[in-house]
C-alpha cells in the first residue's frame, strides 16, 4: 500500500511537470498579451518598461524556468490584470465552484441511484420507461438552454428562487461560531440564502450527471441480476431486499462510483457554462475572463490546479475502487 502510494505520487509529479511545460508553451502560443494589456497610445519606452516588468522580454525557456522556480515556492505568478497572486485569485473562487460541483454530484447520486435501481429492477413498468425517457432528455438538452429555462420559470415567472449570484456566504469556522462569518473561505451552502441561490445552478449542472447515473445504475442492475451469484443468493433463501441491496447493490456501486468520481473532475473543470448562465462567481467564470484578456499567469495557474485536481481525484477514485472491489490489489495495478 505505502509502496503503491509512493509510486503513484512519483508518477503524479512527472505528470505535473510534463503538463506544466505543455501548458506554459501552449498558453505562450495563443497570443501576445502585450497587445491587449498595454494601451495602444503608449510610447516605445513605456512599452518596453511594461514588457520587462511582466518578464515578457526573456526567451521562452527562461520564462518557464522563472515560472517553475517560483511555482516550487508556491508562487504561480501575478495576474497581469488584477496585479494579485494568480493562486490567490483562483483559490478565492474555488469554494464557489467546488460547492456547485459537489452539490451536483450529491444530487446525481441522491436522485440517479434510486431511479436507476428502480428502472433496472422493473424494466418494463411505465414508470421505468418514463425515467429512461427523462434521462435521454437530461443527456441531450444543452446545459445553457436548461439553465435559461430554469431562470425563466423559477426566477422570472414564479419568483421562487433567486436567479444569479451566490447569495449570503459564510466560512466553516464562522458557521460554528468560532469566527465572524466573513473570515476565511466563503461557502454558500452554509446559509439559507446561499442554499436558495445554489439550487438552480446545482440542478443545472447535475442534470447530465443524474442521467448518467440512472443509465449506469440501470445497466448495472440488469447485468448483475443475470449473474449466477444472484441466482445462488436467491437459492439460499435470502429475502428479495437482501439480494437487491447487498448482493446486487455492492456490485453496481463499483462502476457508478468510478464514473461519478471521474466526472467530478470534468464537472469542476467545465462548470464554465453553468457559472456564466447563473453569474456564479467561480473559477470557470474567472478563467473565461482571463482568457479574454490573455491573463497568462491566471490561465497557467488555473490549468495547473486543474491538472493536480484530476490527479488527486483519480487517486481517490482508485483507492475507493479498491475498497469496494476486493479483487483489485493496488500493488499490482499500474496507473
Amino acid at each position: 500500500m505505502a509502496v503503491y502510494l509512493v509510486r503513484r505520487l512519483m508518477q503524479a509529479l512527472l505528470v505535473v511537470l510534463a503538463m506544466s511545460i505543455i501548458v506554459f508553451v501552449g498558453v505562450y502560443a495563443i497570443g501576445d498579451p502585450v497587445e491587449i494589456l498595454i494601451s495602444p497610445d503608449a510610447d516605445q519606452l513605456e512599452r518596453e518598461r511594461a514588457i520587462r516588468a511582466l518578464g515578457l522580454d526573456l526567451p521562452l525557456w527562461q520564462q518557464y524556468l522563472v515560472f517553475l522556480t517560483n511555482a516550487l515556492q508556491g508562487d504561480l505568478g501575478r495576474s497581469f490584470v488584477f496585479n494579485e497572486p494568480a493562486l490567490k485569485l483562483i483559490l478565492q473562487r474555488m469554494p464557489a465552484t467546488l460547492e456547485l460541483a459537489f452539490g451536483a454530484m450529491f444530487l446525481s447520486i441522491l436522485i440517479g441511484l434510486p431511479l436507476g435501481l428502480y428502472a433496472g429492477l422493473r424494466p418494463n413498468s411505465a414508470a421505468s420507461k418514463t425515467i429512461m425517457a427523462g434521462s435521454i432528455l437530461g443527456f441531450s438538452l444543452p446545459t445553457f438552454w436548461v439553465g435559461l429555462m430554469l431562470i425563466m420559470v423559477f426566477a422570472v415567472q414564479l419568483g421562487w428562487l433567486p436567479s444569479t449570484g451566490r447569495g449570503e456566504t459564510c466560512s466553516v469556522l464562522g458557521f460554528i461560531g468560532l469566527q465572524p462569518c466573513s473570515a476565511g473561505l466563503q461557502w454558500s451552502w452554509l446559509t439559507g440564502d446561499g442554499l436558495a441561490h445554489m439550487v438552480m445552478p446545482a440542478i443545472n449542472l447535475a442534470l447530465f450527471k443524474i442521467s448518467l447515473v440512472i443509465r449506469l445504475t440501470r445497466a448495472g442492475v440488469r447485468e448483475t441480476m443475470l449473474m449466477d451469484y444472484v441466482k445462488f443468493a436467491r437459492a439460499k433463501g435470502l429475502s428479495a431486499s437482501r439480494v437487491t441491496f447487498v448482493h446486487v447493490f455492492k456490485n453496481i456501486l463499483i462502476p457508478v462510483v468510478t464514473v461519478v468520481g471521474l466526472e467530478l473532475g470534468s464537472t469542476i473543470a467545465f462548470s464554465v457554462v453553468t457559472e456564466s448562465v447563473f453569474a456564479w462567481p467561480g473559477m470557470g467564470k474567472l478563467i473565461i475572463d482571463s482568457i479574454n484578456v490573455l491573463d497568462r499567469p491566471v490561465i497557467v495557474a488555473y490549468l495547473m490546479i486543474i491538472v493536480m485536481m484530476f490527479i488527486t481525484i483519480n487517486l481517490v477514485v482508485d483507492l475507493t475502487y479498491s475498497l469496494l472491489d476486493p479483487r483489485v490489489r493496488l500493488e499490482n495495478k499500474g496507473t
Partner: protein
C-alpha cells in the same frame, strides 16, 4: 414405506420468448426416495437445469411452470407462494450450481455469504451462525476454516469454491440437494474427491440428491436411480444398474455407447450422430426420430412414457427389449 422426498409428475416448464414458446421441460416425471441419489442425465440443452430450477422455484420470466406437480414431502411446490418457497430454499432444498467461479458473490467475504444463509432460516446469534459456517467449511474439507471465512472468493481455487458452495448447501442439512453438474467445470482429480465427499455427506445426513450431469460415468458410481432426458422429456427412468446394464431406450443406448470407458471418468462424451433438435420447432412424433437407428413408421406419433418392465419406464414405441427385438 415413507413418502419419497420428491415426486415430480408431468412437469412442464416453458419459456415464452419472442421467437416462440420454448418447451424446455415438457412432461418430466421422476421420484427421489429419501436418502437416495437420482442421476438426471442428458445432452446439453435437454432441460436438466430448467428442471432443477423448477424444483427450487427459481424459473425466471419469460419462463414459467405451466403444468404438473412437484411434490416435496407430499406438498406441491408448483402451487407454493414465493414466501413459502423462500422458506424452503437453502433450508430444506438446496442447490449447487455448475460453475463455481460464478456462484459466489465476488465482492462479499465468504463469512458474509455463509452467515446470511444461516440467519435467513434460523434465529441464532451472529456468533452461532459463524460457528455453524466454520464447522460446515471444515466438514467439506477446507483447511483452517477460521481463516478462510475471512477470505474473498477470488482467493480460492475453483475446486475450493465449489466446496464452499457445497458447504453453503449443507448449512441447514437439507432434505434435498439439486446439484447441477457441480464437477463439470473442475479437473478430474478434484471431481473425484468432491464426488466421494458429497456421497459420504449425503449418506451421513440422509439427504436426497438430484445429481445433474451429462456424464454417464459419474452417475454410474453415484446414483441409485437415473432419469435420462431428451429434448425436454424424460425418455427413460429406472434403477441405475438396470438402465446402464440393459438400456431400453435407443437414446440411452447411444449415450452408453458413446462413453469411451467406464473407468475414464470426465472424458468428454462422444456425440451421438446428429444434432439435438431445436425446442422451438420440434416436429411431431418422437423427438429422437431423426437420430434414431430404430425409427420406423410408428415413431411419427408421439410416444408416451410407460412402465414396460417392472421398475423400468421408457418413452419409445420400439424399445430394446427382447420382445421388441423379435418384433422388429
Amino acid at each position: 414405506m415413507a413418502a419419497p422426498t420428491l415426486e415430480v409428475r408431468n412437469l412442464r416448464t416453458h419459456f415464452f420468448t419472442r421467437a416462440g414458446v420454448v418447451r424446455a421441460v415438457d412432461d418430466v416425471s421422476f421420484t427421489v426416495e429419501r436418502g437416495k441419489v437420482l442421476g438426471l442425465v442428458g445432452e446439453s440443452g435437454s432441460g436438466k437445469t430448467v428442471t432443477g430450477f423448477s424444483v427450487i422455484g427459481l424459473v425466471d420470466p419469460p419462463g414459467r411452470i405451466v403444468g404438473g406437480q412437484i411434490l416435496f414431502q407430499g406438498r406441491d411446490l408448483a402451487k407454493a407462494t414465493e414466501a413459502e418457497m423462500r422458506d424452503l430454499r437453502g433450508n430444506r432444498i438446496a442447490m449447487i450450481f455448475q460453475d463455481p467461479m460464478m456462484t459466489l458473490n465476488p465482492v462479499l467475504r465468504i463469512d458474509t455469504q455463509m452467515i446470511e444463509t444461516v440467519l435467513a432460516h434460523k434465529k441464532v446469534s451472529h456468533e452461532q451462525a459463524r460457528q455453524r459456517a466454520r464447522d460446515t467449511l471444515g466438514m467439506v474439507g477446507i483447511p483452517s476454516p477460521d481463516e478462510r471465512l475471512k477470505s474473498y472468493p477470488h482467493q480460492f481455487s475453483g475446486g475450493m469454491r465449489q466446496r464452499v458452495a457445497i458447504a453453503i448447501a449443507l448449512l441447514h442439512e437439507p432434505d434435498l440437494i439439486v446439484a447441477d453438474e457441480p464437477t463439470t467445470a473442475l479437473d478430474v482429480t478434484i471431481q473425484g474427491q468432491i464426488l466421494a465427499e458429497v456421497q459420504k455427506l449425503a449418506q451421513t445426513t440422509g439427504t436426497s440428491l438430484i445429481w445433474i450431469t451429462h456424464d454417464l460415468s459419474v452417475v454410474a458410481g453415484l446414483a441409485d436411480d437415473i432419469a435420462v432426458m431428451y429434448a425436454g422429456r424424460v425418455v427413460e427412468h429406472g434403477a441405475v444398474s438396470d438402465v446402464l446394464d440393459r438400456p431400453l431406450h435407443p437414446y440411452t443406448a447411444g449415450l452408453i455407447g458413446s462413453v469411451p470407458s467406464r473407468n475414464k471418468r470426465g472424458e468428454p462424451l462422444r456425440q451421438i450422430p446428429g444434432m439435438t433438435p431445436s425446442l422451438l420447432s420440434l416436429p411431431p412424433g418422437c423427438a429422437f426420430r431423426s437420430r434414431c437407428p430404430r425409427a420406423a413408421e410408428a415413431c411419427l406419433a408421439e410416444p408416451e412414457i410407460n412402465e414396460i418392465l417392472p421398475g423400468r419406464e421408457v418413452r419409445c414405441f420400439r424399445p430394446l427389449t427382447e420382445t421388441a427385438e423379435q418384433a422388429a
